[in-house]
Symmetry: C2
Subunit: 516 residues, 2 copies
Amino acid sequence: MTTQAFTPEATQARIQHEGLRSKIMTAEQAAELIQPGFNVGMSGFTGSGYPKAVPLALAARMEAAHAAGKPFRVGLWTGASTAPELDGALAKAEGISMRLPYQSDPTVRNQINAGGMFYSDMHLSHVAPMAWAGFFGRLNVAVIEVAGILPDGRLIPTTSVGNNKTWLDIADHVILEVNHWQSTGLEGMHDIYYGTRLPPHRQPIMLTAPHDRIGEPYLHCDPEKIIAIVQTDAHDRNSPFSPPDENSRLIAQHMIDFFQHEVKAGRLPANLLPLQSGVGNIANAVLAGLNESPFNNMTAYTEVLQDGMLEMIKSGKLTFASATALSLSPEATQYFTTHLDEFRGRVLLRPQEISNHPELIRRMGMLAMNAMIEADIYGNVNSTHLMGSTVMNGIGGSGDFARNAYISFFMSPSTAKGGAISCIVPMVSHTDHTEHDVQVIVTEQGLADLRGLAPVPRARRVIEKCAHPDYRDALTDYLDRALAGGAPGKHTPHLLQESLSWHQRFVQTGDMRKKG
Amino acid sequence: MTTQAFTPEATQARIQHEGLRSKIMTAEQAAELIQPGFNVGMSGFTGSGYPKAVPLALAARMEAAHAAGKPFRVGLWTGASTAPELDGALAKAEGISMRLPYQSDPTVRNQINAGGMFYSDMHLSHVAPMAWAGFFGRLNVAVIEVAGILPDGRLIPTTSVGNNKTWLDIADHVILEVNHWQSTGLEGMHDIYYGTRLPPHRQPIMLTAPHDRIGEPYLHCDPEKIIAIVQTDAHDRNSPFSPPDENSRLIAQHMIDFFQHEVKAGRLPANLLPLQSGVGNIANAVLAGLNESPFNNMTAYTEVLQDGMLEMIKSGKLTFASATALSLSPEATQYFTTHLDEFRGRVLLRPQEISNHPELIRRMGMLAMNAMIEADIYGNVNSTHLMGSTVMNGIGGSGDFARNAYISFFMSPSTAKGGAISCIVPMVSHTDHTEHDVQVIVTEQGLADLRGLAPVPRARRVIEKCAHPDYRDALTDYLDRALAGGAPGKHTPHLLQESLSWHQRFVQTGDMRKKG
């Protein structure tokens, strides 16, 4: 939608700073301000709050340059994943030289795995401090979506905060997208903390519960740095969720049984501890299960507010949710925006350096529930790679939460590809979470509590509780032969010539199982 | 040395609580109070401050039981590594069923790798909170070395703090060893923080610089729980350090060049940031190098105070060092104990949950310098395992520091075993620090700065800067063939049938290099 479509009244209502209204231009004009070789910091986290017009115009500019035989690529830094109009469009234009810190776009993923784009997969809590420290070089321009601009120039954030504060602070120049689709009712639902510093000037972050406010509702930006304002009226990605399948429901049930057991044993309070939940259908199923469970007065301190958590707030089971972004289905988005007052005071969106901060996660003691691609029998977890070489999405915040959680859970169905892949393997083909950071593994088969166990008892338990019956004997056989003397040592016994052979067999035959 | 050897005056001077003096007994009598199947929490961290009499008496008791055909094993929890009189003796008696969280004793290591003892290798910052939460079961008895007991029952800690506070708090019963060898001048050089809680009751830890005092100089223990007091006069392990060899000096020089470069680029303050340094000869060489460097007014916030740091304090280069333990050579110990007043106000020993706390490490922004066994070309680091299966020592605090550091460094000579092992490999045989947690790799060949790089550029840089020339071509060949199409994807290209073949070749032939 072009700038012409907005009435002066609508424009003035959203852009209340008079001086800044003089910087309104079209997306195409704004994209002209982005040069080849720039590092560009964009808003956006799990398909929420990303700029929706400038990236498309930039992609067109890149395609035109490429057609004229001129190179045009940029480094692209975001909060996390975005949407087809951003990651997808820029990747299709072959315009991204380097991507960080997280992506989940199919075009981006294909280019990375084809060797056509560099990708630096990072802990989401590392991004802002390392960018501030200058470890990634200069940030030439930031492109940030906002819901509005106050008369004094402060900015109303939208459906994600991500790294917006950081990009606005460190970028040489700023392009704003004012999105009229974003509800003005979002005003006041953010908590932007301006107390972060580089060492040796860092101070304690005085947040002790998910509902604590430690910042302010607005983003700041020096108006001198703002070189363009583009108006849009375009919705977030809002991917639909599938209803929980049988495996997800079983995983959820194992989790809830475990929580009940831990409460009974006095190792968890009756209302549990703040929930962190990764994105996706299994996570949503667990939240749906918790919504039907006997637990009450729960809270969440997490990256992303999904449908499942929204339902828990609606039902009253969840009293408060802190996140850095929404990631809602179209239906849930509709409900949320038309019932904002129901959620006011029960939802806060924060910068991702705060939502994912190890200080705060360790302090509050999360129950960290994240999906995985595979785990090995010793409890190492692969969250990012298929068959050792191909990156799927990225580690995201799973490491921030797993390492610092009260208890860290990793969940997956026990098999994939119709049984051709076992998600429990002798050795993971890539390690994202080491044995030291994984306390509980859950599949539809069961739950393996690994706390306090040495590697071999861990392996017995993972095989017994989590592996699919089709793979159980082969895993036990591997462990037994390694223990019987095939391995150089019996602490973490591995048969090095076989440890990745399941993956290799899948690459060669499309099935981890031996034929015949 | 038996109890009889201590005069009443010496005993009264060390054990000022009258009621507790009635609990003095021999080590043999105290060991009788430890039953088979107990979990025993002992003091001790890197050969400092461990009990020196009761473990030997317990080992004798175990050997007698075993000779009589009776089982006698205990779970052994400590701060970190101890010494032959503790780990060595109990392992020799085959008396440890389960060991956590760290060890470096040859007898213990051999038993673990022979499958005769279970070992749970843990982040040192995880131990106290998880033990408090009850994740490892009940702690039946604590055996803690102290330097003295005040009239009101408070305890003067010795040369390490480790998990002593936690064991004293959670154990059902407590046995104290009062060691007359430990200098009474240590009184006042500890900072025991009693503000930790289980969630949801945790509060910010108000420490912002290495010299901050947030606790008190003494350990507390309910006198009712104390069932025995044993007097000793026995020195700490105090292993000698070898003088820095040529490789260590080269590694140190690369580090110092890098620091100078970073200061010049404005990414580090002129006096650097708090140093964390792992134990061992490379670490000491780096500290010796820093002591000769142009940097001044440095500080340290680390686990262990080694000879190198002591020298830096003596020279005035290091203004303050916070640690949880001393790990000094006999000569440095002698100097330290006879010049304690020189170090008073410049050294503090804290509980390991504070020395290694992610909140504090992230806040203060350490330069985390740790040794490694091997790194792979993509920047994953193995700190614990030989050839995938055999555990060496353990992860210790390296993960606490690397994950939360301002910059994390991993250091190793580029080869081992006279060149038969390359410390840069296609794929690590065990992962302790993932690519996300490793910013800089250093060998005597050079320093690879991996910040902001994607995996393939990282691999090129690690091979160029860090690999030994004897292995460089083979590593490049692996990478090139993987990129040329051998790997299923080009993000982290691996040839699965080859990725661990170097380790396998070493197991089979004693050399990673191909013959002929």
